[in-house]
């Protein structure tokens, strides 16, 4: 019990993985974390020499969908790394101990690895009524999060609950549900929003921290750029249908059966930053749009109040670009709040006129017009 902690490579070797397997895994990690080929050596070095990172995982106001998503991580060796190579010393979902024994394990890690442990948070923290809306071991979530954050090396906020308050923070937010970044300062915070986040995005975020001892490059909302720098709309395989003005107009109509764009059905892809269109879900099997339902925007703050879900975006306050619809196929609109430059949410009225008769016959937009619109669209995206 007193021997030095084994490294991740040593663990892998003891589990029967060859050096070749291990190096391949390191390359995958690097790729997943958005690191260029020249950085693979760093990953190998990091995983060969580091003992397992002590990790504590808290559950507050949440539904455990993040934990469930996490265990869906697709590559077996990644699941092994996450479950075996980090030392998951506290997690209400999986740990053997309960009650005092669980709390003792938590405090042992917080004391022994002060300043070194990684803190993962699933769930928001209720601040109304003195915090009584979420108590664990007789203490409020607010009390627990404050104590644990003080000794954490970094905090990763899993899912929309911890990142932006999610559903319990939706109007009227009866319990004062608050995301972590509004409660904690002085400790680096990485937000990994989504309801839940994609498994490989969660694994990739941990891997980045593990391999490089630093938080990934973040955007203005504290999200890893590697996974949240692209709109679902820009990476959607149905995007050509949008550009061509080919839309589903009712669920299971002829256009739905052809896989046309779901924008008219309320798809939030144009205002949602996530990796769904690239990484897809459950080892790349599908993602919401591919399976016929619009994106509900679950990784964006306040998405629950940005509804109703089946009302398409253009009729929203703040998306008043209807006037441009007759002049340009696409334009730029600034989305309220977060300061995200959004892709034009024009209703494509003009485009739809052009191709109205062509939809059912599956005819495409005349090439010249399509090219014009693509150009306008590209320009819009940059705005």
């Amino acid at each position: 019990m007193s021997r030095p902690p084994v490294t991740i490579w040593e663990h892998a070797r003891m589990q029967g993985y060859s050096r070749r397997d291990f190096l391949q895994f390191c390359s995958w990690l690097a790729a997943a974390a958005g690191i260029e080929a020249s950085g693979v050596g760093q990953v190998v070095h990091a995983l060969t020499t580091k003992p397992r990172l002590p990790v504590v995982w808290f559950h507050f106001q949440e539904c455990t969908c993040c934990s469930e998503s996490f265990i869906r991580s697709s590559h077996p060796i990644v699941a092994d790394i996450i479950l075996d190579k980090i030392s998951l010393d506290y997690t209400e979902t999986l740990q053997a101990a309960a009650g005092h024994q669980a709390e003792a394990a938590l405090h042992a890690t917080m004391e022994k690895y002060k300043g070194e442990y990684l803190m993962l948070v699933e769930g928001s923290v209720p601040t109304e009524a003195g915090g009584v809306y979420c108590c664990i071991a007789g203490r409020t979530a607010l009390d627990i999060v404050t104590e644990a954050a003080a000794g954490a090396k970094a905090i990763v906020c899993w899912g929309s609950c911890a990142s932006n308050g999610c559903i319990q923070g939706a109007k009227p937010n009866p319990t004062g549900a608050t995301p972590i970044y509004k409660l904690i300062s002085g400790t680096p915070i990485v937000n990994v929003p989504g309801c839940p986040p994609i498994a490989e995005v969660m694994a990739g975020t941990i891997v980045h921290l593990l391999a490089f001892d630093r938080v990934p490059q973040l955007d203005g909302l504290g999200r890893p750029r590697a996974f949240y720098s692209r709109r679902v709309h820009d990476t959607c395989y149905r995007r050509p249908n949008y550009d061509a003005g080919l839309f589903v107009e009712a669920f299971d109509d002829q256009n739905a059966r052809r896989g046309y764009c779901l924008y008219q059905m309320g798809c939030r892809g144009p205002v949602t930053y996530n990796a769904c269109g690239v990484t897809r879900w459950n080892n790349g099997v599908s993602f919401p749009i591919q399976s016929g339902h619009g994106c509900i925007g679950c990784s964006e703050a306040n998405f629950w109040d940005n509804g109703p879900f089946y009302q398409h975006l253009a009729s929203f306050p703040g998306f008043g670009v209807e006037t441009t619809a007759d002049t340009v196929g696409a334009a730029v609109a600034a989305v309220t709040g977060a300061g995200i430059a959004a892709h034009a949410i024009t209703t494509n009225i003009r485009k739809r006129k052009i191709i109205a008769d062509g939809i059912d016959r599956g005819r495409v937009v005349p090439a010249a017009k399509a090219a014009d619109e693509r150009a306008a669209d590209t320009k819009g995206s940059k705005g």
Partner: protein, 572 residues
């Protein structure tokens, strides 16, 4: 003072649960179950578009993801008189089956197994004997001596690293662990295999609903379209994948889960007389074979059993205001007409009012209000819901399939029918229904293919999609069986908006506090009489509580016989 033991948090569950029990002469004599977290869903749903409700409701739980979405779309469809096309019903059934297969297996291995399997004992196992044991109960291929030997080396290295992770401070070496080291090693192997397997099973949801957890549902049908001549819809490739996933699912259930369950049960037959608790069982039923509106043709029949009388299954009507009612006598809520009132969910109220001790606290005042869960009753009776209730109601309703399976298992374990009413019976019932569902899924799958072959590809009924077609006021109720038991949502729609939305969930039935008459709900009742070998290590309490597969947020602390907290830390 009585010997109060507090366990907070109860781990290996969903949510935040706290259990306080009183121990006398090595047995639990009193028990209190408390949900310690609340989010106010019902308040948040008010005023929303009813077609959006499924997405909100689904977030009630990410472990039994999908079940609240299903209950919700059925609720709205009931209110608006929508009948979904047969394909949508079949796809919902397939998603239901996939959820059960994944969820029950994860419960057995990842949430419940460590109550029965001693991980540390596995270090002493003989890999060759482990292989013989594994091959004697199943022809599952991963069973060679080398396989178990490698695993044991891996486990040894893990323990010797000193970083015990999720196994730290477990109850290893507890006298209540009875499995030989070889069975423990096999259990650990299957714990890891099941972790890898479960992520495959849920791909059924990804195909039909786009993601898991929290796949998409739709009022009026399902969002995915069928078009066998299109790459952007359900076609032969997508359907073949669904078929293959269910085949793999059935293989794992039949070759790993069920043999393990029976092997483990054979060492713990004494738990067939512990943890029975309530004598009443409630089932809403599910898996329609002739449409949701005909419960008489459900695979899981609807009905209630009182006083363990298996000769009579009573009818259940969720619309009858005198049947399902919720009470708040011991819950942190206020009712306008007073806390002694019972409210049918259509008239339900959700007004939070915490009156418990100011945190940090050591004990709850269990004589007053002590939980965020309301207390539901059926015709005034506390009811157990879940796998045991489903198996009993199906058995008593005369299902040959269920009677034969239950009979065979009782015979194999050589235990009487009464052994069903127990902690072990609950855990076994979960396995048995998983086996049934694995077979039913193949029936639904074949029917879906047959429908498509016959030219019916509809997946959505659009007639009542637009709010202009709705009545000014409508009421609905949607029923399902979540893996953890009977689940229902009630809605009142006014002027196209949600006026009231109430969820009565399985863990509310099972984990709720006492009612005004002092009647215990299922958890509290089942804990009475549970033996406690060592109040420092409440392994036995966890066994019974986990046998219900809790899905809430709770916490439990332990106290010694003098009412003091037990702080002792056990490390192996």
């Amino acid at each position: 003072m009585a010997n109060r033991v507090v366990i907070d948090p109860i781990t290996r569950i969903e949510g935040h649960l706290r259990i306080e029990v009183e121990v006398k002469d090595g047995k639990v004599v009193d028990a209190y179950s408390s949900g310690t977290m609340v989010r106010g869903f019902e308040l948040i749903l008010k005023g929303r578009d009813p077609r959006d409700a499924w997405a909100f409701a689904e977030r009630a739980c990410g472990v039994c993801t999908t079940v609240h979405a299903l209950a919700s779309v059925r609720t709205v469809e009931d209110a608006l008189n929508i009948t979904v096309p047969p394909n949508a019903e079949l796809i919902r059934n397939l998603m239901f089956c996939a959820q059960y297969l994944q969820d029950h297996v994860v419960h057995f291995y990842h949430l419940h197994a460590l109550d029965w399997v001693d991980v540390v004992s596995a270090l002493k196992a003989d890999p060759r004997k482990t292989s013989e044991l594994a091959q004697s109960i199943s022809n599952w291929p991963r069973s060679s001596p080398g396989y178990f030997s490698d695993l044991q080396k891996r486990l040894t290295a893990f323990v010797e690293s000193g970083q015990l992770g999720i196994f730290a401070n477990g109850y290893w070496g507890h006298s209540a662990y009875k499995l030989p080291p070889e069975a423990n090693l096999m259990g650990v192997a299957h714990y890891l295999e099941a972790l890898e397997w479960q992520k495959e099973m849920v791909k059924v949801h990804t195909i039909f609903g786009g993601k898991n957890p929290h796949p998409n549902y739709l009022v009026g049908g399902v969002p995915c379209s069928i078009n066998i001549d299109e790459s952007n819809a359900l076609n032969a490739e997508r359907l073949a994948m669904v078929g293959r996933l269910f085949e793999q699912g059935r293989e794992f259930v039949e070759k790993v889960y069920i043999p393990d369950l029976l092997a483990v049960a054979s060492f713990y037959k004494d738990w067939g007389a512990i943890g029975g608790g309530l004598r009443n069982y409630l089932v809403y039923g599910d898996l329609p074979t002739h449409g949701y509106r005909d419960p008489s043709k459900f695979k899981f029949p609807r009905g209630a059993i009182l006083d363990r009388n298996l000769n009579e299954v009573l009818p259940v009507d969720p619309r009858d205001a005198t049947e399902v009612q919720e009470f708040v006598s011991h819950s942190w809520y206020d009712y306008e007409a007073g806390d002694g009132t019972g409210l049918h969910p259509w008239a339900g109220e959700t007004k939070l009012n915490y009156t418990g001790p100011k945190p940090p606290y050591e004990y709850l005042d269990v004589q007053q209000k002590y939980s965020w869960l309301k207390t539901p009753r059926w015709k005034g009776h506390p009811m157990e819901v879940g796998p045991l209730a489903r198996v009993l109601v199906a058995y008593a309703s005369g299902s040959k399939e269920v009677q034969e399976l239950v009979g065979a298992v009782l015979k194999q374990l050589d235990v009487p029918v009464a052994a069903l009413f127990s902690t072990l019976g609950r855990t076994a019932a979960r396995g048995l229904e998983t086996k049934l569902i694995a077979g039913w899924a193949m029936e639904f799958y074949a029917q879906l293919l047959a429908n498509i072959k016959n030219g019916d590809t509809r997946t959505h009924d659009h007639t009542a999609w637009h709010p202009e077609t709705w009545p000014a006021e409508a009421k609905g109720v949607g029923l399902t069986e979540a893996p953890r038991g009977a689940l229902a949502h009630w809605i009142v729609i006014k002027d196209s908006k949600i006026d009231n939305y109430q969820l009565v969930v399985p863990s509310t039935w099972n984990a709720s506090p006492r009612d005004a008459q002092g009647q215990m709900s299922a958890y509290e009742s089942a804990l009475i009489g549970t033996p406690i070998a060592d109040p420092d290590q409440p392994l036995e309490v966890l066994r019974t509580i986990h046998s219900f597969d809790p899905c809430i947020a709770c916490a439990v602390h332990l106290h010694d016989e003098h009412g003091r907290y037990v702080h002792q830390l056990r490390v192996f």
